[in-house]
Symmetry: C2
């Protein structure tokens, strides 16, 4: 069994990005909009700032209070869209209920959509044209490629159909000629499906959801789950149970998570080059 070490690869990528940015004298600006006080978001944003700054990206956080109006958020986005020193805009989710997340994303210029979740990016993905991939999707694909794991022709089961992971991942892997099955909470006989998968990707958000009776011997396991229990982080896989059945597997922490954050930087450089 080989561990898909996302943390190690992220660190290699960070050095590579740092060198690229310095050598090519790329001037990169990233704006992160953070609304309210969500402790998980604080951690995510802190890490995004940390790594972006490390590689030489001018990163700024725009903190908005919980009671900000939609209009004020849209006004800020508009300002950032027309600021030529800013190459990427992130609206950290979740946002308060009275703020319509989709309207905000629609307001971000596709040229600054570093998260790859705008309508035009998703439609390009659907059409199998060049696009900015959502960061988790890109992180998973890069990690598989790094370990020389072929995607073409593989039977891949994805569990979880969110708009930032499951659905775009299904499209992206289909574009790479995998045969994709998208499972979710209404899926029946899920074991029958998961146990046929060459590559099993779980983005459910339930600790220990994937047990040893659900996987095929020699499967490749990608665990997107981030489940905090009593101060410890767990993935969706019952790692101890399934690890010996896997040919490759991502650990949690240290697998997909670190890759996702690195892909913000990857996308930002890509956006800059497309300017």
């Amino acid at each position: 069994m080989i561990i898909l070490d996302g943390k190690k690869y992220r660190d290699e990528l960070l050095e590579r990005y740092k060198e690229t940015i310095s050598k090519e004298k790329l001037s990169l600006g990233l704006s992160i909009i953070l609304i309210g006080n969500n402790s998980a978001s604080e951690v995510y944003v802190k890490n995004k700032v940390k790594y972006s700054t490390y590689v030489g990206i001018n990163t700024q956080i725009h903190r908005l209070s919980e009671d900000v109006t939609l209009q004020e958020v849209l006004k800020l986005i508009d300002k950032l869209n027309s600021d030529s020193s800013i190459n990427g805009i992130i609206l950290q989710s979740p946002v308060p209920h009275h703020i319509d997340f989709d309207s905000c994303i629609a307001a971000i210029s596709p040229k600054k959509d570093v998260d790859g979740i705008s309508a035009s990016n998703i439609f390009s993905l659907y059409q199998n044209k060049k696009t900015i991939l959502p960061c988790t999707v890109k992180g998973i694909i890069k990690l598989l490629e790094h370990y020389n794991i072929d995607i073409e022709g593989k039977n891949i089961t994805i569990i979880g159909r969110s708009e930032i992971v499951g659905k775009p991942l299904a499209l992206a892997l289909n574009n790479r000629n995998a045969t994709v099955t998208l499972c979710h909470s209404k899926t029946k006989n899920i074991k029958d499906i998961t146990s046929k998968a060459d590559i099993l990707i779980s983005a459910v958000g339930k600790a220990n959801f994937i047990t040893n009776d659900m996987v095929k011997e020699g499967f490749i396991g990608i665990d997107v789950g981030i489940n905090h229990i009593n101060g410890r982080l767990y993935g969706d896989f019952n790692y101890e149970e399934v690890k010996d059945l896997a040919s490759y597997i991502t650990p949690v922490p240290g697998g997909v998570g670190p890759m996702t954050i690195a892909m913000i930087i990857d996308n930002l450089i890509e956006l800059k080059r497309m300017e």
Copy 2:
């Protein structure tokens, strides 16, 4: 085995549309742009005109010669976009190589995109929001509903990943809580996948592609194939071989095809109501 009689249901729907349009005094205009001389396109367009006219839609064909420029096509689309008597615009495919189909579709106002293939319609589909469904997708779903076939929780295999059938169908069925596997030419061990499907939908374009060893007893078969061989029309299913294994099955002709054409009218009425 029950035949999913698309032709019969189409005829019922046509009467219903005709009555609705007449009762509600809906003033509906449909423009079909037909470029060049493709004999298959001629037949499709003729049928679209026939049924649309029958139900009381003012339908016009815009015939453009093979050597029309992209600019001229875009100009026509622009004119139709701003013509308030036109509620729906169809660009009949295929178009000549020098005409970029995607650019033309992007030029059609989403409010007149009766085929449901514009970026904004597809993005709404992706987000599981209200949308104009592509006609074949809507036709299949309506036909299943008409026969009280539940979609939720079903394992559905789709073969063929085109942008007008396979991909939007996968999204639409996922939105209706089916578990969807999308197969294509690079799929390996396809029999293992198709033989597990509760509902098997083939949009491959190969006569007799689906044989009796590829299906599960009691499966529901939806045949989107339109294969002309020696003047006869065949679907993708080897109908004689698989029909007795099916619980429900669409014939070819008389299954999905008639439904698709009826959905143009369904979408046009929907677009009118959204105005």
